[in-house]
Amino acid sequence: MRWSWLTRTRGLAVLAGVAFLLILFSPQIQRRPLMIIEQPLLLIESWLQRAIGGIRTAASDWTDRYVDLWNLGDENRRLRDQVARLEQEVAHLQEQLGAAGRRDDLDAFGKTFTDLAMVADVIGRDPTNWYQSVVINRGQRDGVKMDMGVAVQDGVVGRVVKVMPKTAVVLLVSDRNSVVPGLIQRGRDEGLIEGVGGKRLRMKYVSTLASVQVGDLVITSGLAGTFPKELRIGTVSAIERMPDAISQELMLTPAVDLDRLEEVLVLPLMDVETETVR
C-alpha cells in the first residue's frame, strides 16, 4: 500500500516536472515570459543589483579616500610648495613689470630732452654716513662722464662725480658738496642751490628784491651744462632774510624722494650757449 502511494506520487511529480518543462520551453512561453514569476524576480534582482552596486561604490569610494589619505599629506605639501613658488613668481613678474614700466616712463621722459639720455639702475648707497651719494650700474664703457646730470621724472637727483668702467658714483643734490644753479619759476630769480645734509636744500644768493613765497617751485636754469632747463629741484619751504644783507637764503624741500631711488636717468652734458649735447 505504502509502496504504491510512493510510486504514484513520484510518477505524478515526474509528470508535473515534464509538463512544467514542456510549458517552459514551449515557443509560446519563450515569446511571452511568465510575468508572475519573472517580475518579482527581476524586481528583487534589481534591488540586489542596486544594493550591491551601492555597496561597491561606497567601498570603492572609501578605499579611494583611504588610499588618497595616504597621499594627501605629500600632495598637500607639494601643492603648498607650488602655490608659494607661483606666488613668488607672480610677485617677481609684477616687480619686473613695474620696473619695466618705470624704465619706459623714464626713457620717454629722457627723450623729451635728448636721445642720448640713458636709464641706469641704482645699485648701492654711499658706504659712509658722511656723504650722500648713490652708485649706478652705468660707467665709462656706457659713455658716462664726470659732471653729467642725473634726474628722474620728479626732478633733479644729482651729478656724476666718479666714473669707473662699469659703475659711477652720483653725488646727490642734498650733499653738502653739491651745487646746482637754479631759478624760482614764478619770479625767474636766480640763485645757487646747495645741499645741507639731511633732506633739505638751501638756495643762496637770491636777491632781496625777489618776491618769493613759501611753496614756490625752484627749477634748473640750465646754466652749468649739467642739467637742461626747467627740471624741478624743489619747493620753497622757508625764507631767511637777514637785515642789511644783499641777498636772502631759501630753504627748499627736494622734489625727488632721494631715499627711494631705483632707476635714474643719466643726462648728457649740454652746451650752455647752443643748448645742444656736447
Binding site: I123, G124, R125, D126, P127, T128, N129, W130, Y131, Q132, S133, V135, V161, K162, M164, V169, V170, L171, L172, D175, R176, N177, G197, G198
Partner: protein, 167 residues
C-alpha cells in the same frame, strides 16, 4: 691670519656696507662695518695686517663714496694699526672694553671726517653731533653685541683662538 682670507673679507665688506646696512640704519645712521672688520683684522693679525687691510678697505670706501679719495683711507689705516697694536694684549678683553675702544676710535674718525668736510665746504661742524657721535655709538654697540654673541658661541674655545693667533 691668512692673506687670502683678509683680502676676501676686505673685498666683501664694502659692497655689504653699501647694500645691506641701510636695512639696519637708525635715523639714517649706519654702523661702520668696514671699520669694524679692519679693527678685527688688526686685533687678530697684528699691525701690519691691520694696516694693509685698512688701506685696502679705505681705498674701496673712498672710491665708492661721494667724497674725496683719501680721508677714509687714512682713517681706516689708523683703525687697522691701532687694532693691530692693541691686538694680543686686548684680544680676550671683555665686550665692553672693545666697545669703549671702538667708540673712541670711531669718534676720532668722525672728528677727522668733519675736519675734511669743513676744509672743503667751510661748514659742517654740526656733523660732529649729527653723524660722528651716533655713528661711533652705533658701531660700538654692534661690536659689543657681535663679541658677546661670538664669546657665547665659542665659550672656552677662545683659548684656542689665542694659540691660533700666537702661531
Amino acid at each position: 691670519m691668512n692673506a687670502l682670507t683678509v683680502i676676501v673679507l676686505c673685498l666683501l665688506i664694502v659692497p655689504l656696507q653699501m647694500q645691506v646696512t641701510g636695512l639696519i640704519a637708525v635715523a639714517g645712521i649706519r654702523p661702520d662695518l668696514p671699520g669694524v672688520v679692519v679693527y678685527g683684522i688688526g686685533l687678530l693679525g697684528g699691525p701690519w695686517t691691520g694696516g694693509a687691510a685698512g688701506l685696502l678697505v679705505g681705498l674701496l670706501v673712498d672710491r665708492f663714496s661721494g667724497g674725496l679719495v683719501g680721508p677714509q683711507l687714512i682713517a681706516k689705516l689708523c683703525i687697522g694699526l691701532v687694532g693691530g697694536v692693541l691686538g694680543r694684549r686686548l684680544l680676550l678683553a671683555n665686550a665692553t672694553t672693545h666697545g669703549a675702544i671702538c667708540f673712541a676710535l670711531f669718534l676720532l674718525q668722525g672728528v677727522w671726517m668733519t675736519i675734511t668736510i669743513w676744509w672743503r665746504t667751510g661748514e659742517g661742524w654740526r656733523e660732529l653731533y649729527l653723524t660722528a657721535v651716533p655713528e661711533a655709538c652705533y658701531t660700538a654697540v654692534i661690536v659689543m653685541i657681535g663679541l658677546w654673541v661670538l664669546r657665547r658661541r665659542m665659550g672656552e674655545r677662545t683659548e684656542r683662538l689665542t694659540l691660533l693667533v700666537d702661531r
